[in-house]
Amino acid sequence: MLKDITLGQYFPGNSILHKLDPRMKIFLIIIYIVTIFAANNPVSFVLVLASAFVLMFLSKIPAKLILGGLKAVFFIMAFTAVINIFWTTGEHLLVDVGFIKIYAEGIEYAVFMIVRVISLIIGSSVLLTYTTSPIALTDGLERVLAPLKVLHIPVHEFSMMMTIALRFIPTLIEETDKIISAQKARGADFSSGNLMQRAKALIPVMVPLFVSAFHRADELAVAMECRCYRGGEGRTRMTQLHYHTRDFLMLGALLLFMAVVIVLNFVF
């Protein structure tokens, strides 16, 4: 049952977005987020929304999957929209019923916020989470953040921890499954009672799981030492990342898009 859990949301594919260099994708997503927040007029917002759909199209990931992801933030969107509608004041009063005053600016603002959130989610998910495998993402982050080593930030160590965590998630899930089955076979009940009782029933699962996790950590450390691991110093990598033409094309396209949005701010 626990095996069905998917890690992250990586959706394997072969689109241009999948093939982009993970380092470039991290830069792209930063540019994209800046652009979204730079937009402040209706024309830019139409463009931003359109760009999100263009990215979605480029990723070749089923729209249903991505739009489904929006459901999770529906409440936040509705909440922001309502607040903006009722609390924004402006010059054009539309509705005035007692204490409720709705201004045209409020509605405009609410729509903008929704467009921002939608574009942000679609953009970041198709640029990064759906199209980048966790391992490539970790790798990309390590390399992008490598200059921070000068400030004594243990970039390599963090990325190693991430890799090991990713490596052990399926192993620990399998183990949890085994422990649960073993406890069930001895009459443990995980599925009845209220929330507190169920949570309590999980303690006999957590204890052996933690014990075994520490045991594994110890063995892994010895095994890593035997394979000559001694930190990031002097380490090379088999897979070398190379920027391709497509990486620069995407960068160019996104920078151009950002420029257009910023120029539009002055026009309107």
Binding site: E219, R227, C228, R235, R237, M238
Partner: protein, 292 residues
């Protein structure tokens, strides 16, 4: 210059228990492992066989005595971190639980882990990884995740990860103990091939008799001491001696031995393989068949 890759002289090691008393695990051990040989170390739990492996790889340091591994004196106090590093490159180690040895989420990335630590150029790592994958017959699984593999396959990946560091010797610390029979057969076959084709010295720590049989030489450990040290044939013909230290002999050897001692048939004691036994028993049957 001796031809020994591992050489121990009066080696002693003890674990310290919490109340400070020393618990001797290795007592006065003297032996030598020849380069290129295939040696099995047998012994039941607590006989000190795994501790011996950890001493060879400098995970533990001996209390007294001499231990030279790959020409490096492990007991030398002036040993630098680089010396230890070089030693570990030459003496690879494969452990019991395949899950707790694999680091990366992709098979080939994991095999590259060792060479990456050694600071080898990317192109060369690629070549070594491909060679190592071929050596363990796992080429088609290069891009898989270890969690998709069977126990035997995972252990072969762990072996490949060691091979990629181009070691002179590999110590297998009960590497087949957690595997099913198919997995064990796969791993044993890989180990034998590495020894034969690549000339890698193999130190196989095990408690399976049938695995020890395949070695050139069997060292039997008992309570931290070397109990027997000979060819498999001569070690396993000493059935009573082995049984006295709580070890079993291969089934066939046991059968032949009982036919010899209990039923009084005149047959050799050093039968290790069922094919040999069949031949001898058939002959025996023909001989006595005429009389009855």
């Amino acid at each position: 210059m001796s031809n020994y890759i591992i050489e121990a002289e009066n080696l002693c090691f003890s674990y310290k228990s919490e109340d400070g008393t020393a618990l001797p695990v290795i007592k006065n051990l003297t032996f030598g492992i020849e380069a290129g040989s295939f040696v099995a170390i047998l012994g039941h739990n607590g006989s000190g066989k795994s501790t011996l492996a950890k001493l060879c790889n400098m995970i533990l340091t001996p209390d007294s005595g001499k231990l030279r591994v790959g020409g490096v004196d492990v007991t030398d106090e002036n040993l630098t971190e680089d010396d230890i590093y070089n030693l570990r490159r030459k003496i690879g180690m494969v452990f019991q639980n395949p899950d707790n040895q694999l680091v990366a989420t992709i098979v080939e990335e994991d095999i590259a882990f060792g060479p990456e630590n050694l600071g080898i150029a990317p192109g060369e790592i690629r070549r070594r990884v491909d060679d190592a994958l071929r050596a363990v017959n796992m080429t088609e699984f290069a891009r898989h995740s270890p969690s998709q593999l069977s126990g035997g396959q995972k252990q072969r990946i762990a072996i490949a990860g060691i091979i990629a560091m181009l070691p002179d010797c590999i110590i297998f610390d009960e590497s087949t103990a957690m595997l099913d029979p198919i997995g064990r057969a796969e791993v044993m076959e890989t180990i034998e091939r590495l020894n034969r084709e690549k000339g890698i010295t193999v130190l196989l720590i095990t408690h399976y008799m049938d695995e020890a049989l395949r070695a050139d030489r069997v060292m039997v450990m008992n309570r931290g001491e070397l109990f027997l040290d000979d060819t498999p044939r001569r070690v396993f013909s000493q059935v009573d001696k082995l049984k006295s230290v709580g070890l079993d002999v291969p089934q066939v050897t046991d059968l032949v031995n009982r036919l010899r001692t209990e039923a009084g048939f005149a047959i050799p004691a050093d039968i290790l393989h069922s094919a040999e036994a069949v031949e001898i028993l058939a002959k025996l049957y023909h001989e006595i068949g005429g009389k009855h």
